[in-house]
Amino acid sequence: MPFFLRVGDDGKAKVCETNSSQLGLDGPAHKGKIWLDGDVICLQFPSIDNITVAGRPPLQIVSHMVRFPADERGMTAAEAVLHVRQQMMQKGNEALLLAFAERGTDHSAILRLYKEILP
């Protein structure tokens, strides 16, 4: 995948070339699936399993979906959720991952936590 499109601040796309081996279609671990259901953005994340940390039982964050209106405001909120998902898997943010893991199998608790931490 040496070529990709970059859509800039002005909304214009240009073809870019990269040598990065990371630009495969698989994407990083914090990726999600996205689709439109009518005028609703659906964002779904896979489960995170076997979360183990010293002194804690194995935990899990179930696969879950968050929905937003398909407009500028909804897209901004979806970005914030993508940001949370990225952050929770970064070094130094283990507490964030555990905060979700402690609510891991309760979908409504997971959504409440998103609401609490989203700007």
Binding site: H30, G32, I34, C42, T52, G55, R85, T105
Partner: protein, 335 residues
Amino acid sequence: MGLFGDLFNRRDREIAELMNPVLAMKLREFVLVDDDPSYVKHYFKFRNKEGEDEEFITVYRRVGSQLEYLRTMSRRAVWGPEFQTLSESGPWSMTITHLIEQGQRLSSNTRPTRGHFASKIGPSTPTQPTKSEAQTVEPPRSAETPSPVGMDAVRAFSSEVRKNPNGYAVWMHEPNPGEFVVLLVTLDRDGSMTGGWSLGSFSSRKEQGAFALEVARELQISLNDVVPASEQKSAAPTSDDLTYSVAEMDNQKFPPSHGTIWLDGDEIWLGQATKDFSFDGRSYHIPGSMVCFARAKAAREGLLNVLRKERDLWAPGNEASVKARLIAHAEKLRR
């Protein structure tokens, strides 16, 4: 007092009775139930205005020479034959306070009763568990290692646990190195253990964790790991001691997505997989793509447009029109 004073006083009483229904009932029986080494209970039987009996039990735990309030349970005809635990923060809170005060007042002049049925309602110190029951245990310091009881035995607890899910928890404990025990414990209002059952002992932490998680899900209660204070870490966990695995995503599976998306730095990436299909003996190819979008209004609109086009392209409908759309799209990309 006059007419208005009389009316307002009557209104005040009605409101008070609404808030605390016990005020409108007649106390017919009070029993100081005192034959358990760990618990003392105050049993009240009232007769309400409808002529029905309503029973309450306030439960206390012995802490040295003091009694610590645990919970209030009640049995009313409309609720069925079982005692239910009353919510402390709900509409019963004034009644509970009233019963606690009334119980303290009455118990000072009441002789303790042994063998009353209320002794077996709510928490009690078990005497001789049968083999078919989960075994009672001391707090986690105990080194008992019973065999796993299995989920059938766990389900036997479910009706009682669901009445008061905050009063129970699943605890994982390692009383001795290499001995991994799962406990179902009863908790007081402060979350301290008041009793419990050992649900099983396992030879690995993985088995212990899997079973504990299954029990916590089945009973819909919290799961905790009991770590001796000497082993507790004061610092937050670090990546050195945290591991996890992320499940695979299959884009072909329902729901059919328009692509995978993630954030990288200050850009949003959208990856779309290659799609191949054939109609009437002819193959068509829609190549995959990778697009990154700036986090700006115009770029967000661009991303939404991509998603809308995908939605419209794959929209279910009559087979001929879907086929025509896909062929037209593939032909356009080929050119």
